[in-house]
């Protein structure tokens, strides 16, 4: 290393003395620094020419670089460079890569998509991505749901039906659960009877005498439970009334109640208070038809039926 210190003779100072004798050198900048600085100036001028840069009145210089894309109406457009046009081009590129799959999905019936090994691979990865972003916060990442909040999609018990068309309908238009509060029309004793009857059809220890009375109420018009839950208490998927005989519970906290009395009480509470819950948002406006079809097959694969 050479000694960079200038000799006392050549040293140029700023000409000011602080505290009597403290002076400051005023050396020229190193050449590499000066040339790098000039290079950045040149770079910025090139940048101004290529990209949008300077405001002028109520508009701005657009730059010479352009982006070409195809919009949803099929028109090819060339626009000055900006991130929104760039996004369009990016979406075009991705759509082109996925086109063979989505074209096939659009034309194939659901069960054929599920049987086709190549397509089911695509459904598994694309469907999982869509499911994770949109469905998993409620139905959980594996589709197992949350007891007393969001239904399990992996079992074979469906509130609104587990066939492809019903799953599709549920996704597109959303759902809203409703059951009237029977404490407003029935006496406490009657609600006890109904709770015991519902316990009896799902194999929970119950009071047989009360259940027999509950049976009559269930199938009579005073309570009218059969209208939604069906004569056999197996539910009606067209109105989203659950099957009460299969020991699968969503709203009544039966599984977490330790004693048979607790289980009957859990059923009783739903009969008495009713439900105005079970709201699933509609995805028709948020996801594309192709995404919804992928999702339909994906959810059906989790535990769908016919």
């Amino acid at each position: 290393m050479s000694d960079h210190k200038p000799s006392a003779h050549s040293a140029q100072t700023t000409g000011h003395a602080w505290d009597g004798d403290l002076q400051e050198y005023n050396n020229p900048l190193p050449a590499w620094w000066v040339w790098t600085f000039y290079a950045t100036v040149v770079f910025s001028i090139v940048y101004w020419i290529i990209y949008p840069a300077w405001p002028i009145g109520n508009t701005w210089t657009r730059g010479v670089k352009t982006v070409t894309y195809v919009n949803s109406e099929g028109e090819t457009k060339t626009h000055g460079w900006n991130t929104r046009a760039l996004l369009m081009a990016d979406l075009n590129k991705a759509a082109a890569a996925q086109k063979p799959y989505f074209d096939k999905i659009a034309s194939m019936p659901y069960d054929e998509i599920a049987r086709d090994p190549e397509m089911s691979g695509f459904i598994l990865s694309a469907g999982r991505a869509i499911f994770s972003d949109n469905c998993a916060p409620c139905h959980q990442s594996g589709g197992q749901g949350v007891l007393s909040f969001f239904p399990n999609l992996t079992d074979d018990d469906w509130l609104y039906g587990g066939g492809y068309d019903r799953i599709h309908e549920t996704i597109v238009q959303g759902r809203r659960g409703y059951m009237p509060a029977f404490k407003e029309v029935l006496a406490d004793a009657q609600i006890d009877q109904l709770a015991n009857y519902v316990a009896s059809v799902s194999g929970i220890a119950h009071d047989a005498k009360l259940a027999a009375l509950g049976d009559q109420l269930f199938h009579g018009n005073a309570a009218g439970c059969y209208i939604c839950h069906g004569d056999d208490a197996k539910g009606r998927q067209d109105v989203g009334a659950p099957n009460l005989t299969d020991a699968v519970w969503l709203w009544a906290t039966v599984p977490s109640a330790p004693t048979p009395e607790g289980k009957v009480a859990a059923i009783r509470s739903v009969v008495a208070e009713g439900l105005n819950r079970g709201v699933m948002p509609a995805w028709g406006g948020r996801l594309t038809p192709e995404q919804i079809k992928v999702l339909t097959v994906y959810v059906h694969e989790l535990g769908g039926g016919t």
């Binding site: 700023t14 000409g15 000011h16 005023n26 020229p28 949008p52 405001p55 009145g57 109520n58 508009t59 701005w60 894309y69 919009n71 949803s72 109406e73 457009k77 626009h79 900006n82 991130t83 929104r84 046009a85 760039l86 996004l87 369009m88 990016d90 979406l91 991705a94 991505a129 972003d133 949109n134 998993a136 916060p137 409620c138 959980q140 990442s141 949350v146 909040f149 969001f150 819950r277 709201v279 699933m280 948002p281 406006g285 948020r286």
Partner: protein, 248 residues
């Protein structure tokens, strides 16, 4: 450096230094900020954006009080990955009535610009009370007091008046109300009328029952009402997918 400039002039004259510093900062500021007020496409022309209703605005106040913005941004950027996850990129027009806007650049949690309508009210309530009961891997804190805290609506008129001062078109006079009817339609204009704000707030909270509890109006009612309107004002199905490309 042969011209007769001496550092010493500036360095020994604090008044001159202050003037030159201000000049340098002003030039930078003017070049960056002034064009945004002059360029006619800064705020896109788009239908549907309106100021928040009194209940939503109170929800927004709670959103800021609880510091939600420290982990959640409210701006979907124009990138493919963001569009796939969150929906249409945010427009400047969509936050024109936000004071201050909540764009943010810090995402510990997901972006919330389009969270409105994505989940049910019940999900939001459960998730705010106990986030991990809904999303196992969440690191969000619990906010259980929102459900038990009664919403303070005593100063709602003052809050809206303050926003009116900074340019949000909440109306005080009949003339302002009529102008809002012309701009936003009668249903929205009614919600923006400050003298009726308390009545409107109570009505919306009772009708929407956002927290699932009809016994009173909680802070949860307001916050969920706010979250459910985020990003839902513009109906993007009315616009072609490149409608806003020309604005930039």
């Amino acid at each position: 450096m042969n011209f007769n400039f001496k550092h010493e002039w500036v360095e020994t004259n604090v008044g001159l230094m202050a003037v030159l510093t201000m000049l340098a900062i002003s030039v930078g500021g003017l070049v960056e900020i002034a064009p945004l007020f002059l360029i006619d496409k800064t705020v896109e022309k788009v239908e549907g954006v309106r100021p928040y209703t009194p209940l939503e605005q109170r929800g927004r106040d709670i959103y800021m009080r609880e510091g939600c913005y420290t982990c959640h941004s409210q701006m979907v950027r124009p990138f493919r990955d963001e569009m796939l996850r969150y929906g249409h990129y945010s427009l400047a027009a969509e936050s024109q009535y936000d004071h201050p806007f909540q764009w943010g650049s810090k995402r510990t949690g997901p972006d919330l610009a389009r969270v409105g309508g994505k989940y049910s009210n019940e999900w939001h309530v459960q998730h705010l009370v106990a986030p991990r009961s809904m999303v196992e891997v969440s690191v969000m804190p619990n906010y259980p007091w929102l459900l038990s805290a009664k919403l303070d609506i005593s100063d709602i008129e003052l809050r809206l008046k303050a926003l009116r001062k900074v340019g949000v078109p909440y109306s005080l006079s009949q003339a302002e109300y009529d102008a809002n009817v012309a701009t936003f339609g009668e249903t929205v204009a009614r919600q923006l009328h400050i003298p009726d704000s308390r009545k409107n707030l109570v009505e919306q909270a009772n009708f929407g029952n956002y927290d699932g509890d009809r016994s009173g109006i909680s802070e949860m009612d307001a916050l969920v009402a706010y979250l459910q309107v985020l990003g839902t004002m513009v109906d993007f199905s009315k616009y072609s997918d490149d409608a806003f490309v020309a604005d930039r």
